[in-house]
């Protein structure tokens, strides 16, 4: 136990020390996200992530949003286990035909007002997989999409920028 405490103590809080990429950009972006979430969602934005056909690359980067360097919870963003608790859907992958019905059901289970973010090139335009007998291609071919975040996969900072853009839309709902 002492060793655990010692390690925690020595590791310290990483969230604000800037290593390689520009952390100030992360901060700036995050604080702006926080401001908009406070205004529109009463302080917290609940996201339900849905892999609708991804290669799992996008999921790894979405996971990284929660690591101590990015720690997006501090900006009021958290990932929830059920669409019924969600304000937004974060959808990755081209929509495989085998996930098409499940994705629609998730969308229908999400209470309105809701918005849909397509994350990654596949979700934006079908990416490397496109449209085929097994793939519907872009998420917008199945659901109305509010915001697209490009990248294969989008890096955590790109995801955060995309969320910022998403929150900027439809300010009339605030």
């Amino acid at each position: 136990m002492l060793r655990v405490l010692n390690k925690i103590f020595r590791t310290g809080v990483l969230t604000e020390t800037p290593p390689v990429i520009s952390e100030s950009e992360l901060e700036r972006c995050g604080i702006e996200v926080r401001r908009r979430i406070d205004a529109r969602f009463g302080g917290s934005l609940a996201i339900r992530q849905v892999d609708a056909g991804s290669c799992n690359g996008c999921e790894l980067e979405i996971h990284a949003l929660n690591n101590p360097y990015h720690d997006v919870e501090r900006f009021g963003i958290h990932f929830v286990a059920s669409p019924r608790h969600a304000d937004a859907l974060l959808v990755t992958g081209p929509v495989s035909r085998h996930m098409e019905a499940a994705l629609r059901r998730v969308y229908n289970a999400t209470p309105a007002p809701k918005f849909v973010i397509a994350a990654g090139d596949c979700a934006c335009d079908g990416g490397e997989f496109g449209i085929s007998y097994a793939s519907c291609g872009a998420v917008e071919n199945v659901l109305p999409v509010d915001v697209k975040i490009a990248g294969c996969p989008p890096a955590p900072l790109d995801l955060l920028r995309g969320l910022l853009a998403a929150l900027g839309e439809g300010s009339d709902q605030s």
Binding site: V4, P19, V20, N67, F79, R97, E100, S132, Y133
Partner: protein
């Protein structure tokens, strides 16, 4: 022990069973022998193979005009033996291997769903990869099936899959998925439980089927490498390498030594990144958030270095046909060496903590056991196999360049529980760090890439690469115009998903997440 010293005995055994099968080297530089078998003997060859302790490592079909060629890849003592047979398209029937090799089960059902091959005496007549995207009478991998498909309406939900049912007082069923609670890939799990104990688990996969094998057709080598790098995004280096290796063998070229060394460097980086992520996540699944914090921190540092030096956080599209698309400057080498030193130091402390933390011991030891017997019969690979006494690693048992000039240690444990699967990962991180230093120290000078010939006509090749999940086997065939005619990447998850069904038996339902994470099969790499 020399390569294939068992093969003469094996062939003699076949002859005793009056099976005539001409044997020769497989095409190109593929390090395998090829045995051409009559379709009627297909099952009997498997029965001889199992008596020889061969492992079934892959099985796939390939339509060529009026025929379907079937391939089965066996492995023994690190030697690969490809069996090949042909059945007419009008009557594509042959005996199933599943009776002898349970690991053939889902691969055969996949071949049936996509190519319409009928495996007689297969114990399970249910579909596997097919849900409702195409009808039972259509076979997407046949040449007369359009890649765009024929469906013009919404794809209905797949509701009629005949799951096994358990009956009895107190038995209840828990359906989970395809959409799970966390940020993970989709798949369906059907549990039968009594109280908290799992009586049976049945997996239903295929939700991520994206038609990868079909949309590969017609691509050039660069396009196929990009697609292969997206079979399973966490294994992008390994899958791209296996596909490129197959294509290079078909073309009869080998990348320059520096290109090969850099491939290995990228592959070991990928292994470390994934193991770090998994170790943290497994501990977190039993409530030890400290480990998640620490290991996701280390993983993030690692990925940032990948972005800085190689231009991509997950290293996608860095492995290209003929070599790699990036080079490493000498100061890059220096930073890497320093990274390795620091990571080693951190891990020494962290691993010590994990090794004797009482709450981890309590939750991980004896949880989710896979016996050596099950692992062997299911052909389980990678850390799942290594934690259950199966010490196979392509880098060690059939080393490809540059591993042919290195000693790759293979950690093997007998316990087969979640703790052992964590331990294999810890050992592999350490071993990979040593390999990385060794690669940097001996990094050859020169080019990183060789041009692919402009036309690779009517040629085939097989790639064998040890990804972080285990052995990947990839088959590529080019048509007369130099376009890809067949691509089949066999992810190790084909043989670890079935293991998960056994691993959870007798465990409590709440331990399923940690069991699942300790196996961490790829859904995308399996569903294709």
């Amino acid at each position: 022990m020399s390569r294939f010293d068992w093969l003469p005995d094996f062939l003699a055994k076949l002859e005793d069973a009056s099976i005539t099968a001409p044997c020769g080297p497989a095409s190109g530089g593929t390090p395998a022998s090829l045995l051409v078998v009559d379709a009627a003997d297909w099952g009997r060859v498997a029965s001889v193979a199992i008596s020889f302790n061969c492992r079934l490592a892959g099985l796939w079909g390939d339509q060529r005009e009026g025929k379907i060629m079937l391939f089965c890849c066996l492995e023994r003592q690190g030697d690969y033996l490809l069996l090949r047979t042909a059945v007419p398209l009008s009557h594509p029937e042959l005996p199933s291997h599943t009776f002898w090799f349970p690991s053939a089960d889902r691969l055969e059902r996949h071949a049936r769903d996509l190519l319409g091959v009928i495996f007689t005496r297969h114990p399970d007549s249910r579909r596997w990869t097919r849900h409702r995207a195409w009808p039972e009478t259509d076979y997407p991998l046949r040449s007369d099936f359009p890649a765009a498909g024929r469906r013009t309406t919404k794809t209905p939900q797949d509701e009629e899959y005949p799951f096994l049912r358990a009956k009895g007082t107190g038995v209840y069923e828990i359906p989970v998925g395809p959409v799970h609670a966390g940020i993970i890939e989709p798949g369906h799990f059907r549990f039968q439980a009594v109280g908290e104990e799992v009586l049976n688990l049945e997996e239903r996969l295929g939700y991520l089927h994206k038609g990868i094998e079909k949309i590969a057709v017609g691509r050039d080598s660069a396009g196929l490498a990009r697609l292969a790098g997206r079979v399973s995004g966490d294994s992008t280096v390994a899958h791209a390498w296996a596909a490129c290796q197959a294509m290079e063998r078909a073309a009869g070229i080998e990348p320059p030594p520096r290109g090969l060394a850099l491939r290995a460097l990228l592959a070991e980086r990928e292994r470390i990144a994934n193991h770090l992520g998994d170790i943290g996540a497994i501990c977190n699944d039993v409530g030890f958030a400290f480990a998640l914090y620490q290991f996701s921190r280390l993983r993030e540092i690692w990925q940032r270095r990948s972005a800085e030096l190689f231009g991509h956080r997950l290293l996608m599209d860095r492995v290209v046909p003929g070599g790699v698309g990036v080079d490493l400057e000498s100061n890059g080498s220096l930073s890497l060496r320093e990274d390795h030193r620091l990571l080693r130091k951190e891990l020494n402390g962290l691993f010590d903590i994990l090794e004797d933390h009482p709450s981890l011991e309590d939750r991980l030891l004896t949880t989710g056991r896979l016996t050596a017997e099950s692992a062997r019969s299911l052909g389980s690979l990678g850390y799942v196999g290594k934690a259950s006494g199966q010490g196979f690693d392509v880098r060690h048992n059939n080393p490809y360049a540059p591993y042919d000039r290195m000693e790759v240690a293979v950690p093997v444990f007998e316990e087969g529980d979640v703790a052992a699967r964590v331990r294999v990962r810890m050992e592999e991180v350490r071993i990979s760090l040593d390999l990385l230093d060794c690669l940097l120290a001996g990094l050859p000078a020169g080019e990183v890439r060789q041009e692919m010939p402009s036309l690779i006509s009517s040629a085939e090749g097989v790639g064998f690469v040890e990804g972080w999940r285990g052995e990947i086997i990839t088959y590529v065939r080019f048509d007369g115009e130099g376009r890809v005619a067949r691509f089949f990447p066999r992810d190790p998850s084909w043989f670890t998903w079935p293991a998960l069904e056994r691993i959870v038996l007798g465990n409590i339902v709440p331990d399923f997440p940690v069991c699942n994470k300790s196996v961490n099969g790829s859904y995308s790499g399996h569903d294709l």
